[in-house]
Amino acid sequence: MSQKKNNGTLVTKINSSDVRVFYDQAEALHGVDLEIYENSVTALIGPSGCGKSTFLRCINRMNDVIEGCRITGKITLDNEDIYDKGLDVVQLREKVGMVFQKPNPFPKSIYDNIAYGPQIHGLAQNRQEMDEIVENSLKKAGLFEEVKDRLNSPGTGLSGGQQQRLCIARAIAVNPEVILMDEPCSALDPIATAKIEELIHELRQNYTIVIVTHSMQQAARVSQRTAFFHMGDLVEVGDTDDIFVRPEDKRTQDYITGRFG
């Protein structure tokens, strides 16, 4: 594994050391050491079943939900161990939002979809504040103009791309520090994909983003750093420009030139 030299201005947001994940007895991740920097986009790439989504779900402890899943090693967020016994998972997820592969708006109105998070975390004192949160989140997700006249219609009635931006707005609404994206464009057409990628660019100013993607072009377009996973190993990580132009590992080179995967 190689590690590119850090640019002096980058601050480590998330640090994982020797993270191993077991499903029952089978080891799915074989000791991942990865630093993720603040206000940058880190792309996780690799063939199907390589463990990139598994790693992503370790960062907000979504693997806790899965029966028989066990994690060893250490992941810190701002130097705090997120697998510490005393840590409140609910508060961790308030800080680390997530956007899924398939748009999954709740069976509620557009407004209530966004208001759901702020409401359970008590972020708004009154209706007016909630209105502001909803409007701001929708604006940041680039969806406000399209839906401002129908905030009370169901979120499931939007198009696929709009639904995914609604899910991003929903994640932004609780004011997280990190946003995890698990193949957010795999169910979308190229136009909707372009919008989401543009959005990722803008969000980078304020959030730390980790994105899992199957599309190497997407990784190249949106990310500053790229990590290549293969068969449960983190093979190579570095600046996106370097990884795609001068991969150090043979497997990375084979993958990005399309020889397998």
Binding site: V65, E67, R93, G97, M98, F106, G117
Partner: protein, 456 residues
């Protein structure tokens, strides 16, 4: 006679199969066949068997009808001036005598006709045997001649199979239509005797008729409202019990219980659904009803021995597994991605259940409740044993009420006359009950279906 004939037909079919297969495999050694040899065999066997067996069934069904009308016209031509009822009785007597039941009738006309009928039956039986066996042989000869390399026996078998399945499903549908029609016709007869407005809007239900013309208070009253209100009251009590418990247990089983826990607790709950309703019935009548009454008295309430409360409570217990397992299904059908989405927002389990899962599953849960209500409305045994017979128009669950199903049972128990409003009222009640549960089921299934489409 009948079993032998069937055996003979089956034998012919079976030999048809072997003959066809043999013939086709002989051909196959020389040239290429369209269908495999056994399809030629099946083709012959099915064509020999199915039409002839259908003919036998038809013959057996129509024979008594035709003979009956023949006998009746014979009796009418031999003796004049009797009422139609007399002829019905005479025809029955002839039929019984012909079947060998000794009635001690001395009437020479009847004795002679019975003798004639017996000979008619004999010849009908024999001609049936001859005709069907001949038919089977003829078909076999014809289909055998069809065995040829290019003959599409495989498609023929497919077509016959198709027809057989079609007939089976038609029988099921026709039976349903028949039941509904008989309900409707008998209901019309009831409304000839009792005005429909009285039945639908009357507030008093006294299903009795005068035995003597001058009897005091002999006239019945046929207002069905108290009967239906009783049904609704008991169903309401049942849903108050079953709704929350069923739904909560469904949530527990689908969201909280570990697979191991679920593995052994769910079957136990489903055992509830397997208890015969009559057992629930005597549990209600003998155990719960006295308990409810004593409990009521202890806190100073006046509770009748057979109260709507007792019947409703037990009925509620009966439909718990129904609601629980249907709701469990719809809750499990809520996509995991929605749960993940909610957890990823930092929601706890109960927040996720209340704000995401229940709203998503709501249409399905409503459907489950409607199906459960229609089940409760149609339930008979528990209320027959634990609810009263008194059509009491009340909303107080501590009083004695009756239900539609109980009144139907009462109307049809014991000696009845089929032109008496008491008996016919059962059909009218049954029809209304049928319409109500039908509407509930249709609405419920529509809701459940619409819900399914949303997530599939």
């Amino acid at each position: 006679m009948f079993p032998y004939l069937l055996a003979a037909i089956l034998l012919i079919s079976l030999s048809g199969f072997y003959i066809g297969r043999k013939q086709a495999s002989n051909l196959r050694s020389q040239t290429k066949l369209h269908s495999l040899p056994q399809y030629h065999g099946y083709f012959i066997a099915l064509w020999c068997g199915i039409p002839t067996i259908l003919l036998i069934l038809l013959w057996t069904a129509l024979e008594p009808v035709l003979l009956g009308s023949l006998i009746r016209s014979h009796l009418e031509s031999q003796s004049g001036g009797l009422t139609p009822t007399d002829y019905v009785i005479m025809t029955e007597e002839v039929r019984n005598l012909a079947a060998g039941v000794a009635l001690g009738t001395q009437d020479p006309l009847i004795l002679e006709t019975a003798e004639w009928m017996r000979s008619l039956q004999q010849s009908s039986q024999w001609s049936m045997v001859v005709v069907t066996i001949l038919l089977a042989m003829l078909i076999m000869a014809f289909t055998r001649s069809k065995v040829a390399p290019g003959f599409k026996a495989r498609h023929g078998v497919e077509l016959l199979f198709n027809g057989f399945l079609f007939i089976s499903s038609t029988i099921a549908i026709l039976t349903t239509i028949g039941i509904v029609l008989s309900l409707i016709f008998e209901t019309f007869r009831f409304f000839e005797l009792v005005p429909i407005t009285e039945f639908l809007f009357g507030l008093k239900w006294y299903p009795q008729i005068a035995i003597r013309a001058d009897q005091v208070a002999g006239d019945g009253a046929w207002g069905a409202i108290p009967v239906f209100s009783g049904t609704l009251l008991i169903s309401f009590v049942a849903m108050i019990v079953a709704g929350p418990i069923g739904l909560m247990s469904a949530i527990y089983f689908s969201e909280y219980a570990s697979p191991k826990m679920r593995g052994w607790t769910k079957p136990i709950l489903e055992i509830l659904a397997g208890i015969p309703t009559v057992v629930y019935g005597f549990f209600a009548a003998l155990t719960l009803a006295p308990l409810v009454r004593d409990g009521g008295i202890a806190i100073g309430l006046e509770v009748e021995a057979r109260s709507a409360l007792a019947a409703g409570l037990v009925m509620g217990v009966m439909i718990i597994p129904f609601i629980s397992s249907l709701s469990d299904d719809v809750i499990n059908a809520v996509p995991q991605t929605l749960r993940d989405g909610s957890y990823a927002m930092g929601a706890t389990k109960s927040e996720t259940i209340r704000q995401v899962i229940i709203p998503a599953a709501l249409p399905g849960i409503v459907g489950a409740f409607l199906l459960a209500i229609s089940r409760a409305i149609g339930e008979t045994m528990i209320v027959a044993m634990a609810a009263g017979l008194n059509a009491n128009l009340t909303l107080n669950p501590l009083e004695n009420v009756t239900t539609v199903t109980v009144q139907i049972v009462v109307a049809l128990i014991g000696d009845q006359e089929f032109d008496d409003p008491k008996t016919l009222s059962a059909f009218a009640l049954g029809l209304v009950l049928f319409i109500v549960t039908l509407i509930l089921n249709v609405v419920a299934l529509a809701i459940v279906k619409k819900y399914r489409e949303k997530y599939d």
